[in-house]
């Protein structure tokens, strides 16, 4: 929900109880005003009745109204004083009880006692309530309307700098960093926001540069010592008087060194992909990339006697960096070969925008969720670096391709949706 709508909703929520309280007081105020008005006119009618009595020659009863509620009665006992009260009387004409305000007053004239009763219909309570409800209803409708008009106007004017900042943020690309991307605005809060964002992006950008630099440095700094070890190992191997055990040790050192170089290379690659350093995209025919990868690995595939089944009905053309496309397919295929059984099979298929690579093999020993996590690997494959699928994931993430894994009928399947 938009902030402004939320604000309005809260305003309305607060307005409701306030309106109810206001309605409650209005009800009593109006009611007492109405009674005062009714009493005043009753007093007036009473004086009229007294004037009438004063003109009497003989005492007698008089009806003052058609419904004979207002009347003058001759009474015996000579009480004094008067009393106001409310009552409801059934009105035959309207077939309902009608509220009345009544004044009974005693009066003496020429030693005769009279009881003067004057009555006046008052406003019915439900009518009063009805009136109040419609008045307050109209007020609420006006409030809602006014709030929404205000919303519209405010979001058009007041919130404009905020929306500008938001769209700038959405298009922010660290590689095209502009230190003054978020321009000063007149509203203090939004101006503060823009200043803070400029500072933050500046910091992120400098961290990004440092990390990039670190990757390059790490690459250089580690590869050179590795090259020295490797070179000296080659020289040592040429020695003619090595014992069998020493040769085994040399082999162990060489294998470990190879693994270390591969690890270093993969980590640098991973960082490069995550830093978006492969940017130039071209149109790539994925079918050709697959054919090339299958050819590259034909020796490995033959060594394990793996059957390849391909189902490449249509050409899948995508916009991608060619190096990343090669790495993506190579890694998936390597994975399918390494985790395959001897005499197993690999199925590669392309359907419209979808590529799937399946291989036979034992069920996973790690959880499905950990499959793409760095250095999480299946126990069975000691030689694996545990980075191949992380690289695959970081490539698909770069291009927002969806990648899914499933295991059905002894087949591990990776599906990439290119869209």
């Amino acid at each position: 929900m938009r902030l402004i709508n939320k604000t309005i909703l809260y305003y309305l929520l607060i307005s409701f109880p306030l309106l109810i309280i206001a309605g409650y007081f209005s009800y009593f105020l109006i009611k007492s005003e109405l009674r005062d008005g009714a009493d005043e006119s009753l007093v007036k009618e009473k004086s009229n009745a007294i004037q009438l009595i004063n003109s009497f020659k003989e005492p007698h009863n008089v009806n003052l109204s058609f419904d004979s509620l207002s009347n003058i009665q001759v009474v015996k006992n000579g009480e004094v004083g008067e009393i106001y009260f409310d009552t409801s009387i059934y009105d035959i004409g309207e077939q309902e009880f009608t509220p009345y305000r009544i004044l009974k007053s005693h009066y003496s004239f020429n030693n005769n006692n009279y009881l003067i009763t004057v009555a006046k219909t008052t406003l019915e309570e439900d009518e009063l309530m009805e009136g109040l409800f419609s008045a307050f209803g109209i007020i609420i409708v006006f409030l809602v309307f006014a709030f929404f008009m205000a919303n519209w106007l405010l979001s058009k004017t007041l919130w404009k700098p905020f929306h500008n900042t938001l769209s700038e943020l959405n298009t922010y690309d660290i590689k095209k960093h502009d230190p003054h991307k978020f321009e000063p605005v007149a509203t203090t809060e939004f101006n503060q926001l823009n200043i803070a964002l400029n500072k933050m992006t500046e910091k992120i950008y400098s961290d990004f540069l440092q990390q990039k630099e670190f990757t390059e440095n790490a690459s250089h700094e580690m590869q050179t010592p590795l090259a020295i070890v490797k070179a000296n190992l080659s020289l040592l191997m040429q020695s003619s008087n090595l014992k069998e055990e020493e040769m085994n040790q040399l082999q162990t050192i060489e294998n470990t060194l190879k693994k270390l170089s591969a690890l270093n290379k993969s980590l640098i690659l991973l960082t490069k992909i995550e830093n978006n350093q492969f940017r130039e995209n071209v149109t790539i025919n994925l079918n050709e990339v697959i054919a090339k990868a299958l050819d590259n690995y034909s020796d490995l595939i033959q060594a394990k006697n793996i059957q390849i089944e391909t189902d490449l009905k249509s050409d899948l053309k995508i916009e991608m960096n060619p190096i990343l496309a090669d790495i993506l397919l190579s890694n998936l295929l390597q994975n399918a070969i390494r985790h395959n059984n001897a005499d197993g099979k690999i199925v590669v298929s392309i359907k419209e925008k979808e590529l799937s690579i399946s291989n036979s093999g034992e069920p996973l020993s790690v959880s499905k969720e950990d499959l793409f996590v760095r250095f999480k690997k299946n126990d069975a494959s000691k030689d694996s670096l545990g980075l191949g699928l992380s690289i695959v994931k970081s490539i698909t993430d770069t291009y927002n391709y969806a990648i899914a894994y499933n295991y059905n009928n002894s087949l591990h399947t990776f599906i990439i949706h290119f869209s």
């Binding site: 390059e216 690459s219 250089h220 590869q223 050179t224 590795l226 090259a227 020295i228 070890v229 490797k230 070179a231 000296n232 080659s234 020289l235 191997m237 040429q238 069998e244 040769m247 085994n248 040399l250 082999q251 060489e254 294998n255 060194l257 190879k258 170089s261 591969a262 290379k265 993969s266 640098i268 490069k272 590259n296 690995y297 020796d299 490995l300 033959q302 060594a303 190096i323 190579s330 390597q334 390494r338 494959s381 030689d383 694996s384 670096l385 191949g388």
Partner: protein
Amino acid sequence: MKILLIEDEPELRKSIKQYLHQEGYLVESASDFTKGSEKAGVYDYDCILVDITLPKGSGLDIVKQLKQNNSKAGIIIISAKNSSDDKITGLDLGADDYLAKPFDLAELNSRIKALIRRRNFDGNKAIVVNEITIIPEERTVKVNNEQVLLTAKEYDMLLFFISNKNRVVSKNTIAEHLWGDESDQMDSHDFIYVHLRNLRKKLADKGCTDYVQTIYGIGYNFKVS
């Protein structure tokens, strides 16, 4: 054959020098950009090995300088930056080859030999080792003047052995030479053995001596006396 090695890391310089010296090359070296650029400008070399990241400058500028002076030397870039950008830039500037660190000395040796062979237009194009004759331009192999039909991998393996004859080459080095980066992820060297077995058989069928010695635990040695 004269080789100039421009590399700032003393230990690496020493090992490369030693290995190439054993191969019979005359190796001179330079430890930074200024010295490298000076030597490359003054003397003639058959091959120049240059690192990109050097103190006082970039190895790529030495490549530029050599090309401006129409140098006939073959140029191999050896760099720790295994980035495709550097590789493309280097080759565009006129370098003949690019080798990423860490590389194997046997690999470097075979690249130097291939480069010198390509550049040596007037010389003998065939490589002859006793009864084996290789014509690299045609990728053909003859034993006792009889052609041996080899697969691409078998041919590459034989050429690699002969380039590093009388040297112990490890199985990892052979795998890396034949399969490049893909060998990083390989589980076993069994299939090297398969290719080698086929190569040996094809050569033996034509009456060739088996020169390939198995060095227990490490690899092989193509031994020619």
